[in-house]
Point group: C2
């Protein structure tokens, strides 16, 4: 699939979705749209990403394109009118358009009419399916092994860890797949439910439904976790995912040095052993499970400090740990997952 990623004025640092699609999606990204960085290339900004030219508009993209991904979201999730010419041009070229905005492209009169005319799909992935319902408590019955990434906080690397674990399982010869629960994961995998947008009563049910759908086709499912069970605002989503997934094993994600809740700095993070105990004891009445390994984001540390931090994190949680981006996923860690 030949894909263009829209990231106007925000690539790379404020375009996490764009980076996620570049790094993990099967798509061939043929261009990134960023009028501020036009003329440079992806690798001029982020050395270890797949490379692609950065151009100013759809008019500068040559050859056929299958889809346009809106790879940024302004605060509030609105649609920026300055993106309209590119979305319009994409549809007129027959591209599907994928977006994770609160503003739904399919409800935009111009885009809806154009898409009908050019037989394109407008895929608003933040709109949950309208037939979700409550969980039945049956995700534990599937034959596939279910892993779930959980966190000490939001924004500690659960999505990245999920992708890296699946890649490592696949590299070791296992049939593994991601169960995406957030917008970047959904764009990368081309399926999934944005669990933080569903009716609260259906949180666990949404995760259960995805697992039942994916399990027959795979030996391992890695469910992308969200938030943290001790987060002042987002714990409901985390708890619903934990109980809906009924995971066989959990992987704890953390950022080195994080001591307070991101954006809620008056709340201290509990210690790693406390967090481990809480996830396990909260899950147990629905599904006995265990935190078997850890993934630490050490991007703020130098090489020596990163090694030390990973070792300390593993000791605190009582299992193998790694920074999956910096150090990869080794056999020790794979061993406790399988």
């Amino acid at each position: 699939m030949r894909t263009v990623v829209l990231a106007h004025e925000k690539f790379p640092d404020r375009a996490k979705t764009a980076q996620g699609v570049l790094r993990y999606a099967d798509d061939e990204v043929v261009a990134v749209l960023d009028r501020d960085a036009a003329g440079t290339r992806v690798r001029d900004h982020v050395p270890n990403l797949p490379d692609a030219p950065i151009v100013a508009s759809m008019a500068d993209v040559e050859g056929p394109v299958d889809r346009l991904v809106v790879g940024i979201a302004p605060i509030g999730g609105g649609f920026e009118e300055s993106w309209r010419p590119d979305v319009r041009a994409a549809i007129e070229r027959g591209c599907d358009v994928v977006a994770g905005l609160h503003y739904f492209l399919a409800d935009d009169e111009e885009f809806a009419a154009l898409a009908a005319e050019h037989d394109c799909e407008l895929n608003d992935i933040r709109r949950p399916p309208d037939d979700l319902t409550v969980a039945e408590g049956v995700a534990g019955d599937v034959d596939a092994q279910v892993l779930l990434t959980v966190g000490t906080d939001c924004s500690v690397g659960k999505m990245t860890t999920t992708m890296e674990l699946v890649a490592a399982l696949q590299a070791a010869g296992h049939d593994a797949a991601v169960v995406p629960t957030g917008q970047t994961g959904i764009m990368i995998e081309n399926w999934g439910v944005p669990v933080d947008r569903v009716v609260s009563d259906f949180t666990a049910g949404a995760v259960e439904r995805m697992i039942l759908e994916a399990a027959p086709d795979h030996d391992y499912l890695v469910v992308e976790g969200q938030g943290s069970i001790t987060h002042p605002a987002y714990s409901a989503v985390t708890c619903g995912i934990l109980h809906g997934a009924m995971a066989d094993r959990l992987v704890l994600c953390h950022e080195a040095g994080r001591e307070a809740v991101h954006g809620y700095e008056s709340f201290s993070l509990p210690s790693v052993p406390q967090v481990v105990d809480l996830y396990e004891s909260l899950s147990a009445p629905v599904a006995e499970t265990e935190i078997v390994a850890g993934a630490l984001n050490t991007s703020g540390l130098d090489a020596d400090a990163a090694r030390t931090a990973v070792d300390e994190f593993g000791a605190a949680l009582g299992g193998p740990a790694t920074d999956p981006i910096r150090h990869g996923v080794d056999e020790d860690l794979l061993g406790v997952l399988t």
Copy 2:
């Protein structure tokens, strides 16, 4: 407020909302509509409820009426067409209509037009406000003391316990109010947010907003809990309420003899000490709190067995316990709440 409660073919046992409104709302219920029980009275069916005549239709209700409450909900939450003549007649008499259905009366063309003509309000309480957002983690800052009813399971008496605690606090001279989170509570109190219908990311935020709104006017708030933190389907809602409320004290609700999750009988309930520990340790990183008392539904037991069960429940949770309907709320229990 002179109120009529619609409960066709379901009063009393399958009309919990109707019973809740009769028992707890300030409304003067002037009639219950149930075409199957027409000609009888409420007390012919439930001795300890406020009495009212049961009639077949709005045409049989004399005198002025301020509001019609739809006090039943079919499975799926649809609107039964057999109710239409009564709703129509109510609006034509100038009544407001309150319903907790998934089918919104305000979206019904006939009712909307009639309500506009007769200047009536159609209040669909299951529709959450459209301006909810994420919690800020500030409910713990209010001056009012915040109590929260939590449960070992759903359907163990959290709504009833909430109402009885507020009544007991008021009888002891305290300024106390309910924070309603479910449809029956909202109908009784005439305000509140149906927390199980909000976007999952806003669960804690919805509770926080209600507390910030109510706290300046009261010394005590009792937040109506929902579900259970170990429920396979509903734990997300419970967790969001727990962290959104940041309660000073918790009251644990349970039904005597309940050993498995209601409707999910393959899941055993954890022991009472386990449940106590889990609520307290899950709340602690956001708000230190304690389960200080228990409320046990003993309606399935005889008098002696009920006393024994309440004593055992109190011993298991380490505090005073009662069946608030059968034994009331005594000074011992009020003492640990205040």
